[in-house]
């Protein structure tokens, strides 16, 4: 297993540098003045432009710029937003909220996704299965901002069950609705994934052998079917935790949750280029880290990997 982890870590190094280089190049190598581009459609004051040229070392060759940018990442120096606050400070404030939100979303998608998927997979081709499959497709089909506004309107405005926006320091119950919206898409994926792997495992030879041993049906479907089906599902959930952080962009924007997503949302709306680059870089790092954790998780769950 040591070699397996080592190999994964080694593979991650070029990916890390490649991905960060990609982000950096997208902003600073595209045609046009990158500084003006960073300001988007806002008027740029000469002082601010000079400050940014200096900050992004634009007078240095590209590769030096990039290396200094990487150095910034490792020293947690992400610069300041236009309001003058260090980005790292804003990130430190926003991250706990987003993590809370992402965990709520993860819990919702895991519990409901696995439960529904398991039941559907056990009765493949039945009415429940067909219904659930179709509904999950509908959930995937509705873009998250449409879902967000619909939920906000119905629960927040029309029925008044919850406060339509969150704001401030959100409590657990306040985050429940945004969490559900955030987790909805992945819920549908988890459901379909679970359903397919349960249905497949159900027809596996070893499951028939387990039945032939004299095991009762509940034990067969939990110990032998569900346990095996969970391997791809759990790894999906791990990778999703990383993706949810990025996906929180729209959800947090709609519900005004003061997390990383809203930070990014507002930076995008206000065309704050440097902040966008910094936050996206951090999110990509989180995503890569989550993928690494998944690889480890995989090794723990599947004995065939454990000894490689």
């Amino acid at each position: 297993m040591g070699w397996y982890i080592g190999r994964r870590l080694l593979q991650m190094v070029p990916v890390f540098f490649g991905a960060t280089l990609l982000i950096y190049a997208l902003v600073f190598l595209l045609p046009g003045d990158p500084i003006l581009a960073l300001f988007g459609e806002r008027p740029a004051s000469p002082a601010a432009v000079a400050e940014l040229r200096d900050r992004y070392n634009l007078d240095e060759p590209f590769i030096v710029q990039y290396l200094l940018f990487i150095k910034g990442i490792f020293t947690l120096d992400f610069g300041e937003s236009f309001s003058g606050r260090p980005v790292i400070e804003q990130l430190a404030e926003a991250f706990p909220v987003t993590i809370k939100l992402a965990l709520i979303a993860l819990a919702i998608e895991a519990v409901f996704g696995i439960a529904f998927g398991f039941l559907a997979g056990l009765r493949r081709g039945g009415l429940f299965d067909s219904t659930v499959l179709f509904l999950s497709l509908v959930v995937i089909g509705i873009p998250v901002f449409v879902l967000g506004f619909t939920a906000q309107y119905l629960f927040g405005v029309k029925w008044g069950v919850v406060d339509p926006t969150v704001g401030g320091d959100p409590s657990f119950t306040e985050l429940l609705l945004p969490g559900a919206v955030l987790g909805a898409l992945s819920f549908a994926y988890v459901l379909r994934l679970t359903r397919n792997s349960v249905a497949e495992a159900l027809s596996a030879d070893h499951v028939r052998t387990a039945t032939a041993k004299g095991l009762a049906r509940p034990r067969v479907v939990t110990v032998h079917v569900l346990r095996n089906s969970l391997i791809p599902v759990v790894t999906f959930l791990g990778a999703d935790l990383g993706a949810l952080m990025g996906g929180a962009l729209v959800t947090e924007g709609i519900f005004n949750v003061p997390g990383v997503g809203r930070l990014l949302y507002q930076a995008v709306i206000r065309s704050e280029g440097p902040t966008v680059v910094s936050v996206v870089t951090v999110l990509v790092l989180v995503y890569l880290l989550a993928n690494l954790v998944v690889d480890l998780l995989y090794a723990v769950l599947d004995p065939r990997i454990r000894y490689v």
Partner: protein, 315 residues
């Protein structure tokens, strides 16, 4: 083997010949009409509602996108500020937006943006991802190692995040730039699927048989490997088409996708947000149009998977 006494019910029994007539060993069944794999898939598909319904919707959408004037004569950009947020009336079945434009006309004209971004992006992604994936899977070795790391790099950037960074820095946004941006972060998925599909096909003995005929490597790839590896790619391309349409709408909604001069569902949804509490229906119509479009492609992809991709079957 020792002679044992024969027990009741185990005496030597021979079935009368007429109960089981002996067939010739391994005769070809000539009774059924012949059918290719694609023919079989088509036969299976054309009876399934999961295929028929989304196909009809998509055909309709394409017609709307190509000839919007067939469906409305109202200019989607014409503002009647006095009638802003007014409900449906004669000639304006769905009422007016916050800016006094006709909701129905905008709905009809918005289809073009979504469909063209979706189709363009998918076409680019399939070509680029398909070529990279096919080369990596078929040739293996260092080519595979190199291309796979490249795919990993792009894969580390989630579609929306990558697109935000790029569009943020890009000037002059239009259907082409949005499609190119989405393609830049969308191709790795196709590449991965193509690679694994090619890897699977490559292991088949008919590929080895082609090699021992003296068929060149590229000819083998083109004639034997690609046609058989295409199924999963067609499926993912269909589903991606839906995802790209949703992504474009999300970007337009965030204000960094298509500019406001282009009529698009995402932009209309964004414009309707401020009045969501008082007049939710303005937000409702483009949302429904968008969701139905995306859902149609997803459903079609699901149906195609059942018919083409033996591994990912849902049924």
């Amino acid at each position: 083997m020792s002679e044992t006494t024969v027990r009741p019910g185990q005496e030597h029994y021979v079935a009368p010949l007429d109960t089981t007539p002996l067939a010739a060993v391994d005769a070809v069944d000539e009774s059924t009409p012949s059918a290719s794999l694609w023919g079989d898939a088509w036969k299976q598909l054309r009876r399934r509602p999961l295929f028929i319904v989304p196909s009809l919707i998509i055909v309709l959408l394409v017609v709307v996108a190509l000839f919007p004037s067939l469906f409305t004569s109202v200019n989607p950009r014409y503002q009647e500020l006095a009638r802003a947020l007014e409900g449906g009336s004669q000639g304006h079945p769905l009422g007016f937006t916050r800016l006094g434009t006709d909701v129905y006309a905008r709905l009809v004209h918005g289809a073009r943006a979504s469909i063209s971004v979706g189709l363009l992006t998918t076409a680019i992604v399939v070509v680029v991802g398909g070529v990279v994936g096919a080369l990596a899977g078929f040739f293996g070795g260092w080519i595979d190692a190199l291309l796979s790391r490249l795919v990993d790099m792009f894969f580390a950037l989630p579609l929306i995040l990558g697109a935000i960074v790029m569009l943020q820095a890009l000037q002059g946004r239009n259907v082409w730039t949005v499609a190119l941006t989405l393609s830049l972060f969308g191709w790795p998925q196709v590449a991965r699927i193509m690679r694994s599909s090619v890897l699977q096909v490559r292991g088949n003995e008919y590929v080895t048989a082609a090699k021992s005929l003296g068929l060149g490597r590229f000819s083998t790839l083109a004639r034997h490997v690609l046609p058989n590896a295409l199924g999963p790619v067609i499926v993912i391309a269909t589903i991606s088409l839906g995802t790209f349409i949703a992504a474009e709408a999300t970007l337009s909604f965030l204000g960094i996708g298509l500019p406001s001069s282009v009529v698009s569902w995402g932009g209309d949804i964004s414009n309707a947000v401020p009045s969501v509490r008082t007049d939710p229906w303005i937000l409702l119509w483009p949302s429904i149009a968008l969701s139905v479009t995306v859902l149609s492609f997803l459903m079609l992809g699901d149906a195609l998977r059942d018919a083409l991709d033996p591994k990912g079957r849902t049924r």
